[in-house]
């Protein structure tokens, strides 16, 4: 009886731990700065985390399968640059004086397919040669960055015009576009993870791969799809970023993989796979976003910001541990 009750409290804590952390953080900030709780600031934070959330959703799937994807930042940069480049200057093949122009949609789809392809390549290497995702995606991190530099020649691709800018800066029904995109991504991801075979298999592979294999699950297929989705969502982030900045920066997305992993882990997803949730990741990203903008609002010195962020990550993960004591 008491046990049952205790169990309940435990569960509540587990379910809402990151929300609680989030609330605490918000209250503290609201007390320290009257500018924090303005609707405008809230929208800013939302808009700012939208990219991280998109990436982190993909990262969550990868980590649920007990993998990791270090290449998201570079893939983001490359697919953003490709989309921008194609939209601005199309493809020219002087030799056969051929010119292919791209509409916004065409350019965006091209960007997506770049992201998806690189992600699929990650998945293929990892499953085909059974090498650790850490290494495969580490290699891709370098490769995709180099590719971006080649494609852009090291120069930002700018001047994409207002239509393209709408994706990143426009509003629709009183909500910023990036937030809309993110909401859609999150909802789809939640349905996939909780309600479909595919999602179920992701958890199964992360929980016990050999058992999953013995149940006839095609591990490689699932994993390749997961990394493809991760690449795809990195591309989505890349498009949003490019459009927000009205410019594709060659060094866009540097170290985004770390922010993203931080969001996933703070959200209570276990790096040893099989345990975690999309909604948790969203909360994790929110915590980071709120922290970032809060530290700036309070005009904390850039030096201290890093230190504080580090300790917040530690604190969040230790809380998770305390609520899941005997899980790996």
């Amino acid at each position: 009886m008491t046990d049952f009750a205790k169990g309940n409290i435990g569960n509540i804590l587990k379910k809402f731990q990151s929300i609680i952390a989030l609330l605490v953080l918000c209250i503290v900030l609201a007390l320290m700065s009257d500018k924090f709780l303005t609707s405008e600031n809230m929208w800013n934070i939302m808009r700012q985390i939208s990219i991280n959330v998109c990436i982190s959703v993909g990262m969550t799937l990868v980590i649920l399968t007990r993998g990791i994807d270090l290449s998201v930042g570079s893939i983001l940069a490359f697919s953003g640059a490709v989309a921008a480049g194609l939209y601005k200057s199309g493809i020219e093949i002087p030799s056969m004086d051929l010119y292919i122009g791209f509409t916004i949609l065409g350019a965006i789809l091209a960007g997506f397919s770049v992201g998806g392809t690189l992600g699929a390549f990650n998945g293929w290497v990892i499953t085909r040669f059974k090498i650790p995702s850490f290494v495969a995606t580490l290699a891709m991190l370098t490769i995709a960055r180099g590719a971006t530099m080649l494609w852009t020649g090291g120069f930002p691709i700018t001047g994409l015009g207002s239509n393209f800018a709408f994706i990143g800066t426009g509003w629709f029904l009183g909500i910023p576009m990036p937030v809309w995109i993110t909401i859609v991504v999150v909802i789809i991801a939640m349905i996939i993870t909780n309600r479909t075979k595919f999602g179920r298999y992701i958890y199964a592979i992360g929980g016990n791969e050999s058992a999953a294999r013995l149940s006839g699950i095609n591990i490689s297929k699932i994993k390749i799809w997961v990394y493809t989705i991760a690449g795809l969502l990195a591309a989505v982030g890349g498009i949003i970023l490019t459009s927000r900045l009205d410019s594709a920066q060659p060094n866009a997305g540097l170290t985004y993989e770390l922010d993203s992993i931080a969001a996933v882990v703070i959200g209570g997803t276990s790096l040893s796979g099989g345990r975690g949730s999309i909604i948790g990741t969203v909360q994790g990203a929110l915590i980071i976003g709120v922290l970032n903008s809060g530290l700036v609002l309070l005009n904390v010195s850039p030096f201290w910001q890093q230190i504080i962020k580090g300790f917040v990550i530690l604190f969040a993960v230790i809380m998770d541990r305390i609520n899941h004591p005997n899980e790996e």
Binding site: E40, G154, T158, G159, S293, V296, L297, N299
Partner: protein
């Protein structure tokens, strides 16, 4: 020394980072000019990392280049590299940034960040006529250019008590970081009248944040570099001013000096300062992107 070897002579172009278009221009102009003058040219990316730069120097010495066109990562940290090259009989020609060694490099073609920002600061003060709240966006806090610029700026602006710096944040020389930081800063400080940015990428980011919050009109944005999109923005009166360092001019000069030196003409001034010019809507037409010297 490699002077007697057959084939064309080779120049190494060591650039502090290629993560920023301004330096890409610097590097590529230098390399291209060297090629026009009949040399093989290779670009090395130090990735803002003095250790990497040291490695490049060792490799350059080992593979016997004939001259080094050098954009240092750090005034002090790079000295030892220059000296090592000199010992190996390879002349070094510094571009844009100084190294604290008079007899190390053959010559230093420099546009001083500090003095550049002093001028910019003076213009800044005039534009704001000596009063108002302003925000400063720093570059990478680990990068000493960040601080040279910041110090030059403050050496002027801090003499005017009515000019209040309401926020000083870092945006890592990065456009998207600048956009996000500026968005948040504007929340805390709705009434600012100017933003001083450590480079043009950040200036563009800050400007976009201002546009998003409808403050683009009343807030003046100041950049540093003279990058393409900022030049256009100044034309359209979106950005108030930037400091043009003429990387192309510096790079060309360096390559030509090196050529001259290798031809045997050794009389070259130890320092060739290239003026940093303030680019505004008024004088914009005198400048090409990244300065003149086409």
């Amino acid at each position: 020394n490699g002077n007697e070897k057959e084939g064309p002579k080779r120049m190494a172009v060591v650039i502090s980072t290629l993560n920023n278009p301004w330096f890409v221009v610097l590097g590529e102009t230098a390399a291209n000019r060297a090629r026009e003058l009949g040399y093989e040219a290779t670009i090395f990316d130090s990735q803002n990392n003095t250790a990497k730069e040291a490695e490049h120097f060792e490799n350059i010495i080992a593979s016997g280049f004939d001259a080094i066109l050098f954009n240092p990562t750090d005034a002090e940290g790079s000295v030892s590299n220059v000296k090592r090259a000199k010992v190996a009989g390879i002349p070094t020609f510094c571009i844009d940034r100084e190294v604290n060694s008079l007899n190390g490099p053959v010559t230093q073609i420099i546009s001083d960040n500090f003095s550049g920002c002093v001028e910019l600061g003076q213009y800044f003060v005039r534009e704001l006529n000596k009063q108002g709240n302003y925000v400063e966006l720093l570059g990478l806090v680990g990068d000493n250019n960040t601080w040279n610029r910041s110090k030059g700026f403050h050496s002027v602006v801090d003499d005017f008590p009515q000019l209040k710096m309401v926020a000083q944040q870092s945006a890592d020389f990065d456009r998207s970081k600048a956009l996000e930081v500026m968005e948040s800063v504007l929340q805390a400080n709705p009434n600012v009248s100017a933003v001083f940015c450590g480079n043009d990428a950040m200036a563009m980011g800050a400007y976009q944040a201002l546009v998003a919050s409808g403050k683009a009109e009343e807030v003046k944005v100041f950049g540093f570099d003279g990058a393409e999109d900022v030049m256009d923005a100044i034309k359209d009166g979106k950005i108030t001013a930037t400091a043009m360092q003429s990387p192309k001019l510096m790079a060309k000069t360096a390559a030509e000096m090196a050529d001259k030196y290798l031809q045997g003409d050794k009389d070259i001034p130890r320092k060739i300062p290239i003026a940093v010019e303030i680019v505004t809507k008024e004088n914009i037409d005198e400048f090409g992107v990244y300065g003149n010297g086409e």
